[in-house]
C-alpha cells in the first residue's frame, strides 16, 4: 500500500467507525439477558480479531523477510506486531470490563480463552525485549522473523480454545452452525469489524511512514557527518 493512500484511509476509518457506533447504540437490539453491557461485544470481539490479524500479518511479513529477503519486510513485521500488542491491550482491557459486569470478576483463570489470549499477548510483548536487546542488523532481523513466525502457531490455538474447552463461562458466538445472533446484530458486528480492520490499516501506515522517515533521516545525518 502506498503512503499516498493514508488520507483516504483516515476518512474511510472515521466514516466506518462512526457508522459502527451509530449501529451499536441506535440499531442493534438490546440483549435480553445481559442488557446494555452486551454492546461491549461489538468493539471487544472485533478488536480481538484485529489483534489476531495484526499478529498474522506480522508473521506473514516475517516469512517474506526470511523467504525473499525483500527490503523493509522486517520493519513491516515489527510495525504489525506493535499494532497487534496495542489491539491486544485494548482486548484485555475491554474484556476485563465486560467480565466484571457479566461474571462479577475482572479475570477468570479457569477460562482457557482468556489465559491463551494472555499467553499470546505476552509472547508478542517479549518480541520487543528480543528486538531491543540485539544490535540492529541482519542477525536481529532474522531472529525477530523466526520469533514472529513461532508466535503465529498460538493464534489458532487461542481462537479454538473456546470451542475445545469444557468450560462454558466464555460465550461462543461463532459456531459450526454460523453466527448465533440476529441479522441486525451480525450486521453491526461486521461494520464494527471492518472499522477495526481499517483502524489497523491506518495506524499501520502512519507508524510505518514515521519509521521509514526516521530511518531515512538517520541515514542522511550519517552521510552529512
Amino acid at each position: 500500500m502506498k503512503r499516498a493512500r493514508l488520507p483516504q484511509l483516515v476518512v474511510a476509518t472515521t466514516a466506518v467507525l462512526a457508522a459502527a457506533l451509530a449501529l451499536i447504540f441506535f440499531y442493534a437490539p438490546t440483549d435480553a439477558d445481559q442488557g446494555l453491557s452486551q454492546r461491549i461485544f461489538y468493539f471487544h470481539v472485533p478488536i480481538a480479531l484485529t489483534a489476531y490479524a495484526c499478529f498474522g500479518f506480522g508473521a506473514w511479513k516475517a516469512l517474506r523477510h526470511l523467504w525473499t529477503r525483500v527490503d523493509g519486510a522486517d520493519l513491516e513485521s515489527y510495525v504489525a506486531i506493535h499494532q497487534g500488542v496495542i489491539f491486544g491491550s485494548l482486548t484485555l482491557l475491554t474484556g476485563s470490563l465486560w467480565a466484571k459486569i457479566s461474571w462479577g470478576v475482572w479475570w477468570a483463570w479457569s477460562d482457557n480463552q482468556l489465559v491463551l489470549f494472555l499467553v499470546l499477548f505476552l509472547f508478542y510483548c517479549a518480541y520487543f525485549m528480543l528486538r531491543y536487546s540485539v544490535d540492529p542488523g541482519p542477525a536481529r532481523a532474522n531472529m525477530c522473523a523466526v520469533y514472529a513466525l513461532f508466535g503465529v502457531v498460538l493464534i489458532p490455538v487461542s481462537f479454538l480454545a473456546i470451542r475445545l474447552s469444557r468450560s462454558f463461562i466464555h460465550p461462543v458466538v461463532f459456531t459450526s452452525h454460523g453466527p448465533q445472533m440476529t441479522h441486525a446484530q451480525f450486521l453491526t458486528f461486521c461494520v464494527a469489524f471492518l472499522g477495526m480492520l481499517l483502524l489497523f490499516a491506518t495506524l499501520y501506515q502512519l507508524e510505518l511512514a514515521g519509521k521509514r522517515l526516521d530511518a531515512q533521516l538517520k541515514e542522511l545525518r550519517e552521510l552529512l557527518a
Binding site: 446494555l36 453491557s37 496495542i86 485494548l90 465486560w98 514515521g210
Partner: protein, 63 residues
C-alpha cells in the same frame, strides 16, 4: 447511571483514549522528525555557503 451503563461507557472510553494516546505519540514523533529535517536543511545550507558544486545546491525554499 446504572452499573451496566458505567461499564459499557468505560469500555468504549478505554478504546477511544487508547487510540487517542497512540495518535498523540505519533504526532509528537512527527514533530521531532520535522525538527530533525529542519536542522539537516540548515546544515546543508551552511555547507552550501561554504561552496558546494551547483548540481548539489538546495532549491530555494518556498516559505
Amino acid at each position: 447511571m446504572s452499573p451496566s451503563e458505567k461499564y459499557t461507557a468505560a469500555a468504549y472510553l478505554v478504546v477511544f483514549v487508547g487510540v487517542l494516546a497512540y495518535v498523540l505519540i505519533i504526532a509528537a514523533k512527527v514533530q521531532r522528525l520535522q525538527r530533525d529535517l529542519a536542522s539537516l536543511i540548515e546544515l546543508l545550507r551552511a555547507r552550501e555557503v561554504e561552496g558546494l558544486p551547483d548540481d548539489l545546491r538546495l532549491p530555494a525554499s518556498g516559505g
